[in-house]
Structure formats: C-alpha cells, structure tokens
Symmetry: C3
Subunit: 109 residues, 3 copies
C-alpha cells in the first residue's frame, strides 16, 4: 500500500474529490496553506493499493489544472524597504504536487 | 521510529487524546474532512518508537468506535439528475483508519 | 527525495516560512493542535531533495525556539477529582519536532 500526499489548488478540490469517489478511491482532505503565496490550498491524503496507483495518478493529473496567480510581493516585515506600491508579479501554480510514501502496515478498526 | 497516521471520528478524538496522554504517547492533531461524506473528522500524527507500536494500536482500537451515519446522497453538481427528495442512505464509518509509515530520522530542536 | 514533517510553535511559523522561501525551499503548512497542551501549532510538510536535507534541518533549528508554557492541568472530565484551583504547571515546549519520511515518487502535474 502507498500513501499519496497531493497538494492541489482549492479550485480543483471538489472536482478531484468527486472523481475519487466515482472510482472508489478513499481520501482524507486537509485545509492547508502554500508556503510561498500564503494562499489556501488542499492537501489530500489517499491510501491506495499499489495496483491502483497509476490509475489514481491519472485521476489527479486530469482533474487538477495549472493556473497563473497574481501576487503582490510583500517586503519582509520591519525592514522598511520595498516600493510604496509593490508591483504584482505573476506566478505559475501547478495543478498538483504529489508525494508517494511507503505504508508498512494498514488497519481499519 | 514510525509515524502513525490515524483518521478517526470527531466523537472519539478527545477520548483518544486523553488515552494517549495517559500512556505518554505524543501526538499532533489535524482537522480533516472525509472525501466521501465530506464530514469533519480528525487526523492524528503520532510518532512512536517501534517497541511501543503494538500498545499504541491497541489504544486506538479500544478508544475509536465504528458508527452508522445517515447521508443524503447529493447528485453531482450541474447534472440535473437525481430525485427531488434524495433518499438518505446509511453508511458504516469505521472507528479508525490507520497508516504506518517509516521514519528515517527524528529530531527535536 | 524526502518528506520532512515538522511540528513548530505558531510563534515561529512565519519566521520559518520566510527563511524557507528565501532559500528556495517549498513547503505546505497545516494548522494543527498539540495532543498534550491542546494549543494550536503548525505542521510543515516540506518535500526536499536529499542533498539539501542538512541545510533544511539547519534552517528549522535556527528559526524555531524552545519556550516555556504555563498550563492549568485539567482533571479528566467527569472524574470529580482534582483541586478547586488547579495549580498551573510549567511545560517546556520544543522549537521543532521533525520526522523525515522516505518519498518513493514525486510528481508535479
Ligand atoms: N521560493 C520560490 N521562488 C519562486 N517561486 C516559488 C517559490 N516557492 C514557490 N514558488 C512558486 O509559487 C507557487 C505556489 O507555491 P506555494 O508554496 O504557495 O504552494 C505550493 C505548496 O503548498 C505545495 N508544494 C510545492 N512543492 C512543494 C514541496 N517540495 N514540499 C511541500 N509542498 C510543496 O504546492 C503548492 C503549489 O506549488 P507549485 O510548485 O505548483 O507552485 C509554486 C511555485 O510556482
Ligand atoms: N484509503 C484511505 N485513504 C485516506 N483516507 C481514508 C482511507 N480510507 C478511509 N479514510 C478516511 O477514514 C474515514 C472513514 O473511512 P471508513 O472506510 O471507515 O468509512 C467510509 C466507508 O464506509 C464509506 N465510503 C467511503 N468511500 C466510499 C465509496 N466510494 N463508496 C461507498 N462507500 C464509501 O464512507 C465512510 C466514510 O468515508 P469518508 O471518506 O467520508 O471518511 C474516511 C476517510 O476520511
Ligand atoms: N512523537 C510525536 N508525534 C507527533 N507529534 C509530536 C510528537 N512529539 C511532539 N509532537 C508535537 O510537537 C509539539 C511539541 O512537543 P514537545 O515534545 O516539544 O513539547 C511537549 C512536551 O514537553 C510536553 N508533553 C507532551 N506530552 C506529555 C506527557 N504525556 N507528559 C508530560 N509532558 C508532555 O508538552 C509539550 C507540548 O506537547 P503537545 O503534544 O501539546 O505538542 C507537541 C506535538 O504537537
């Protein structure tokens, strides 16, 4: 068994959830925050049997989409530097960032 | 060392916390949501030395209880299908879903 | 690649985030709760290439500080035992509790 940890954009969270349910995948969702943009996103924990892993990755890939996000960069607090009106910059945010972690034992009580 | 990731029902979260403290287990709790029922639940992260793993699993098993939950199934948004008054269905929700993950290094700074 | 799971105190969360961004580390943050004190803390998930792991641990160590926290111990609910005015106790809370977990596959879609 593997644990898939997938960080996805909030905009894709419901669609991904529904696709997972439809194909019988089980998941737990955590509200999370990106370290860089400090915007909310969603972290999925999906325990999956190895033989279904490729199908799961396909579902994540097709339901999560890369988008551009405008960011007003913030100068570090208390430095006093940085322009009066910070120029917003464009950042490409990926559809999903996925980590596959080994599971040594799995139980349901 | 192992990392135990345990998804438990909110109703059992406090009792499990107290049992863990009483036996000297350390834990971090995350508010989570089930992918199917979309109801709140709790995800425990419990780092544990291998020799105490069986005792920990026993504590989780005895403090987390399986329950039935009524669910009004929602037709997928925007499909326009589904009955006017969806018949609620009964779902058995387990006491705990537990993943044991290897920890290669552990530090406290 | 490794997944670093770091539980840090809320007071250090922003400083740690900024230090990670400055050095090009990517992270996802989860609002969490300590099992013992039941106070809010922050769980960082940081996927990192093995060659940068030591630098990452150094950043966590230097940005997260141990502190004393006063706790009014609560007698277990419904036992009816415990003093009328529970004497607060002092608890040393570490800067960071860090677990390093193996990542078998990593994708960005
Ligand atoms: N130091 C930096 N300099 C320049 N650009 C930077 C940067 N840090 C991040 N970015 C850019 O900003 C996007 C949002 O990052 P954020 O950390 O808010 O939100 C991230 C974070 O929550 C998570 N994530 C990505 N890589 C991760 C990793 N190695 N470990 C843990 N979480 C990760 O996935 C979200 C989307 O990441 P993605 O890579 O698609 O998209 C990133 C990336 O394009
Ligand atoms: N492999 C896995 N990976 C990650 N997290 C996992 C997991 N297996 C279980 N969980 C977590 O544990 C909760 C309880 O799951 P359980 O299987 O006992 O109880 C489940 C199961 O009896 C049923 N169920 C879930 N998905 C189903 C589906 N596609 N079809 C029919 N019944 C389903 O509904 C109950 C509640 O599910 P829900 O998703 O809301 O909540 C799940 C989810 O948060
Ligand atoms: N093995 C592990 N697995 C998962 N998460 C872990 C962990 N070890 C630590 N943590 C997380 O890190 C926080 C700080 O732990 P620390 O050991 O520095 O600082 C701890 C420790 O000094 C003390 N403590 C915890 N449990 C205790 C107990 N049963 N008896 C006496 N002191 C305890 O209270 C402080 C706060 O603990 P709290 O649980 O609120 O918050 C913990 C918890 O959220």
């Amino acid at each position: 068994m593997k644990m898939v940890i997938a960080v996805v954009q909030d905009k894709d969270s419901s669609r991904l959830s529904q696709a997972l349910v439809k194909e019988g995948f089980r998941a737990t969702k955590l509200a999370s925050t990106g370290g860089f943009l400090r915007a909310g996103n969603t972290t999925f924990l999906i325990g999956v049997e190895e033989e279904r892993l490729d199908q799961l990755l396909e579902i994540i890939k097709s339901n999560c989409h890369s988008r551009e996000q405008m960011v007003a960069p913030m100068p570090p607090a208390g430095t006093g530097v940085g322009p009066l009106i910070p120029q917003p910059i464009e950042v490409q945010v990926g559809g999903a960032t996925v980590f596959i972690v080994p599971v040594e034992q799995f139980y349901q009580f």
